[in-house]
Amino acid sequence: MFVIKSESRRQTFYMYLFISPWLVGFLIFALYPILSSLYYSFTDYDIIHPPQFIGLANYTEMFHNELFWRSVKVTLRYTFISVPVQLLLGLGFALLLHQTLPWRGFFRTAMYFPSMVSGVAMSLLWYWIFNPQIGLFNYMLSWFGIQGPAWLMNPDTALYALIIMSLWTAGSGMILFLAGLQGVPASLIEAANLDGAGRFRIFLNITLPMISPVLLFQLIMGLIDSFQVFTQAFVMTQGGPNYSTWFYVYNLYTSAFKEYRAGYSSALAWVLLIVVMLFTAVIMRLSRRYVHYEGGSRR
């Protein structure tokens, strides 16, 4: 009895010793900021002078603020188009590359390559590609006799241009899907094949359930990332033209660091946090019935 107790105490001691860097970091870089941002969200605060408590004023202002609603609409539209299409493309490429094909290594690297150009470099490159006069995109459209729009300078097309750009990095999702596909036991597929199941049925009934954790992981991470789009808006469009790319985090950034309204901006941050948590919770709940975890019959 004594031996068991001291063993568990030893385990606890070493666990806390090893995880202490993260525990300290969690307190300083997550818990403390999140609680103070909740407090700031009820204040009028310009970062220089001490915050003044103003109750719910920031939140009520938000709901009457046109730019807030604009940023919500822009961000949701971007997310609901780009995330599903990116997932489908990533999965599609992974399925194609999971077969034994010539040049497989080349294709895999080539598809992943664009993901290495993310951030500002990618924004600069596509800034040129979407240039209506000399850019690559409209030049390629002209091969098919299509006169392309002014993309980033046109309020009707600017957001779609950014969505098209986001699909260019579907290769990073492909790598994760490929890893997932390698974990599907070949014996299962062979057995189904012997039972006379076609390719499509095997995919639907075996492959898809087996890689569903990867799919779920990417769906949630993809949502969280696309709710936070900033670089594209900052580098390519500055939220324009006519606020057509006024993303939520760009709105949050301008409120805090251009208009010096850190209180209002903190309220925006808290709404973002709540929305992310809600989306994640709903997806996790819905997915419980569809996502298959190895070794765990979670009933």
Partner: protein
């Protein structure tokens, strides 16, 4: 029909291969086309970076430069403090990688090897911080760092990395959990301390996972724009993304596309190099840790 099926696994594979041939051919052609589309922007990025100021404005764009303007690659170091920015970015990314590797490997080991009290609670808390959007904590962090007089220094961009990052801890924890217990029992018999077992047993066996984390951490720090934009104000401290973002600003009437592309190419170099060196380990690392 059923007799044919029963003999298939025993018979020669030629039948099977023939059946899949059209699918594979279609796959191959699809891949060829999409890869072409994916690589085309990259090709033009490099080609435009080598065009003269006059040629970059030509339409339709020329595939290859008419005269190769290699001088673009030296010009950019003169017009912008490109060398300084490059150095700044390398210092920040390098130290961030070091910090992330050290701290994440320690923490992940703690979560994976010790079934201490509260293990699950803290691990779930760690996972939920992955869902914490950076903008939600950005303002208090800014206030905190400005109170510490860290504004316009590299410290806000480096120090947090030394406290571990949730995603990488998660990856490494998944990997460490697969290491067989016997290895550590043997180490304990030899009188190894816990920290020494981490260093001499766990770390050397984890090269693929560590390489993956290093690449993720490097790419993250190298591409980050929002944090340096918040904290760095003097131009000699700018990182590459901040400096490059300023290239599109209104001080040029016509954007200097050729120089923008030079900057983009040069910004890619360290990532591609790193990937080329660690590609095998990187892919292996993702497969092993499984992300599930």
């Amino acid at each position: 029909m059923s007799t044919v099926k029963a003999t298939r696994p025993l018979g020669p594979p030629s039948r099977l291969r023939r059946r899949f041939k059209p699918v594979k051919l279609a796959s191959f052609i699809t891949l060829l086309l999409t890869t072409f589309l994916m690589l085309l922007p990259l090709f033009f990025m490099v080609s435009t970076s080598l065009k003269s100021k006059r040629e970059m404005l030509k339409f339709p764009p020329t595939f290859l430069p008419e005269s190769w303007a290699w001088s673009n690659y030296t010009d950019i170091f003169e017009t912008l403090q490109f060398g300084t920015m490059y150095k700044n970015s390398l210092i920040i990314a390098g130290l961030s990688v070091l910090g992330t590797l050290l701290s994440s490997a320690l923490v992940a080991y703690g979560f994976a090897r010790y079934r201490g009290r509260g293990n699950n609670f803290w691990f779930i808390l760690l996972l939920s911080t992955m869902m914490l959007p950076y903008p939600a904590i950005m303002i208090p962090q800014f206030v905190l760092f400005s109170k510490m007089q860290w504004i316009d220094t590299f410290l806000p961009l480096i120090v947090p990395a030394f406290f571990g990052s949730a995603y990488n801890i998660f990856l490494l924890r998944q990997f460490f959990s697969t290491l067989p217990e016997e290895l550590f029992d043997a180490g304990r018999m030899d009188g190894c301390g816990e920290l020494r077992m981490w260093r001499t047993i766990a770390l050397p066996l984890s090269a693929p996972a560590l390489a993956t984390v290093a690449i993720f951490a490097f790419i993250y720090s190298w591409n980050d724009l929002l944090t340096p934009v918040l904290y760095l104000s003097s131009s000699d401290k700018f990182t590459l993304p901040v400096g490059m973002a300023s290239l599109t600003s209104s001080r040029f009437r016509i954007p200097p596309w050729h120089l923008l592309m030079v900057a983009s190419v040069l910004a890619m170099v360290p990532i591609v190099t790193l990937f080329a060196i660690a590609q095998k380990q990187f892919v292996e690392g993702i497969v092993l840790t499984g992300i599930k």
